[in-house]
């Protein structure tokens, strides 16, 4: 009896002695995990802070409020109100006239040109569009907010340092003086930059927008989704449920996993050689981009879908087979619905990857400067990440904030897609 008691005592002593060490190890492990998460969050927040602090100003645009007289003598001298005729009219004169009126002391040709450069080269088109919308404005005098030039925009937003020596800044003293006077008159306004969302690309930063790139991304992803989801899920279903397990299927599996790791630029080259050179599909088109991205996202979708299929408990298959369902019915009535959340998650992650992909699209010509907004998957276009790449390459100071703003939009799309993936998973997740 005593012997047994002693032994019990010894065991508990040993356990107690090691307890401290065990808990210390647990605490260390927890601290390391927490540290890793905090570090990750720090980097992410630093990235977000940097991009947002640089980019948020692009969502407003400086406008100059001017009293514009739609002079019939300039716009429509013969009074026929013919829109084609009107389109050829010199709207620059109309836009510039109020400036001349505000600064009557500016007389020299050169000084006048400098004065006119306060307004964007897009300002005359702004007026033209107003006339096109409603010819009744001809002959009227209206107060209109005209788009300012990007340099003015930068100055007003404080991105150009006034205290630098005149030779080192893009805006000279006279211009600063004019802007200051306009500001004193309360004519300089910062308005929400809708053009940034609706316009295509432009050489002028104040006119450039992500509309074209977003449409391009949309069509590209549409093609990618329409192809990669059915093909990926089909391939996963076949490999997981129907294919015999032999050397060939092993080989296919190795190849699929390999494809997931192939550099994306290689897919771009493949797309260039296959779809454009061999099949003769149009360059720079979202269709080709979508095809290339399909090749790229297929491995992701197949791997995720197979994992989802594997995670369906065999008892469900047995239950279905047990009541006499055929293989096909078992798969489509029971296994597939249960695997669907996993498949959708994989697909959306693949789509998010495709949305952010740049390199392969450079190879198939989606890097071109395209002003028009694409109307379909066959029109030349670019995509959001390539737009970011293009703008990041541009020298104008105003493109810096636009680059950041485009990145913000891209991130928002990605966050939205990934949130959607999480919601879908939660919604369709079933317990058994």
């Amino acid at each position: 009896m005593t012997d047994q008691k002693d032994r019990h005592k010894r065991t508990i002593d040993i356990v107690n002695a090691s307890l401290k060490r065990r808990y210390a190890r647990e605490r260390r492990f927890k601290a390391m995990g927490l540290g890793a998460v905090i570090l990750g969050l720090l980097f992410v927040s630093a990235l977000f802070f940097d991009i947002f602090s640089k980019g948020y100003t692009a969502f407003v645009q400086t406008h100059i409020e001017l009293e514009v007289y739609f002079d019939p003598a300039v716009i429509d001298p013969d009074g026929k109100r013919d829109l084609e005729e009107i389109s050829r009219a010199d709207f620059r004169k109309i836009a510039r006239a109020p400036l001349v009126k505000l600064f009557p002391e500016v007389t020299g040709r050169r000084d006048k040109l400098a004065l006119y450069s306060i307004l964007s080269s897009g300002a005359p088109y702004q007026l033209l569009n107003m006339v096109k919308d409603d010819v009744a404005v001809i002959g009227q005098t209206l107060t209109i907010d005209l788009i300012a030039d990007d340099d003015v925009d930068m100055l007003v937003k404080g991105h150009i340092d006034r205290h630098l020596p005149a030779a080192d800044r893009r805006v000279n003293d006279t211009m600063i003086d004019w802007i200051d006077r306009l500001e004193q008159l309360g004519l300089v306004k910062k308005k929400f930059n809708t053009r940034f969302f609706t316009n295509g690309d432009s050489r002028e930063p104040e006119l450039a927008g992500i509309g074209g790139a977003a449409a391009g991304s949309f069509y590209t992803l549409l093609v990618t989704l329409a192809l990669s989801f059915p093909i990926g899920v089909g391939a996963a279903l076949y490999l997981e449920e129907f294919a015999p397990k032999n050397r060939w299927t092993d080989l296919i599996e190795v190849n699929i996993n390999n494809l997931a790791a192939v550099p994306s630029i290689v897919f771009g080259l493949l797309g260039l050689a296959m779809f454009i050179n061999l099949f003769g599909l149009p360059r720079s088109a979202p269709l080709v981009g979508g095809l290339v991205l399909t090749l790229m996202t297929l491995p992701t979708i197949i791997i995720a879908s197979r994992a989802a299929l594997k995670s369906v408990p065999p008892s469900i298959r047995e239950a279905a087979l047990g009541v006499g369902a055929s293989k096909m019915q078992t798969v489509f009535h029971h296994v597939l619905p249960l695997a669907m959340p996993g498949m959708l998650t994989g697909t959306i992650i693949g789509m998010a990857q495709a949305l952010g992909e740049t390199a392969p699209l450079l190879m198939i010509g989606m890097v071109a400067f395209i002003v028009d907004i694409p109307g379909g998957p066959l029109d030349p276009s670019t995509v959001l990440p390539v737009q970011v790449y293009l703008w990041a390459d541009s020298p104008e100071r105003a493109f810096v904030e636009r680059t950041s703003a485009a990145i913000i939009m891209l991130l928002l799309f990605l966050i939205a897609m990934n949130t959607f993936a999480v919601i879908m998973r939660r919604r369709f997740e079933r317990r058994w």
Partner: protein, 300 residues
Amino acid sequence: MAVDQEENEMTTAETVAADPALSGARTRSERGSRALGSDFETVGEVRVGDPRMTCTDVNVYYGDKHAIKHVSLDIAQNQVVAMIGPSGCGKSTFLRCLNRMNDTIDICRVTGEIKLDDQDIYDKRLDVVPLRAQVGMVFQKPNPFPKSIYDNIAYGPRIHGLASNRTELDEIVENSLTKAGLWEEVKDRLDQPGTGLSGGQQQRLCIARTIAVEPEVILMDEPCSALDPIATAKVEELIDELRANYTIAIVTHSMQQAARVSQRTAYFHLGNLVEVGETTQIFTNPRHKLTEDYITGRFG
């Protein structure tokens, strides 16, 4: 006599060892299992007068492993036959041969002949879908579909087209649930998920799902192993009632259960069918040493 035949096949040493007076239980069972060669013959009458299913010289291999060795057994009409034996003895494997459930395992190979009403179910031309509609199965773990209670029952009739309209389907669902003794408990919540029921209810739901397709034979693979005694009692009661209309083969780990629900019992050991006979005979007067050791709880 079967006993005599068997003992004639044993070596002298084993005959001596098999005598309970001469050695302990452990030694005897070890000797006994060694004696089960490929030429082993089952003790007891494997054939019955009115067989529903007839198995002749069935062998099952998992890759190189010989899991079922030369088993012949009849499953009689409107009877419950229980298959008992220690873990890994092949009783579940054998049961799964009866509706070709083993087809889903790639490395599994079955030889021999299994007939359902004179139709060889391993015939290459035979379609497993109607076979499984005829020979239903209830599994060890309750496995309702993650769908509503109604859809769980209606699934089989739907895919086989047993009901031509909604009223008929409703009827089948109600009948099946009533037969499974679950109707009163779930009639007000047919649209709720089957997975939300308790373990015992889930198993009865699975039984209802099986009988909804009106099979002729029902295979049950340890249907009560995940259930508490009360739920077990209900399922056993149900099995007894089902016997009137169906032929049932049940695998169980509980000898009491085998004794309670079955009319015939088959004892499996390491892939051999050691002994088969009337349940009362097996449990009161086993003829083979291994059977005796097992049912008296000396091993297994």
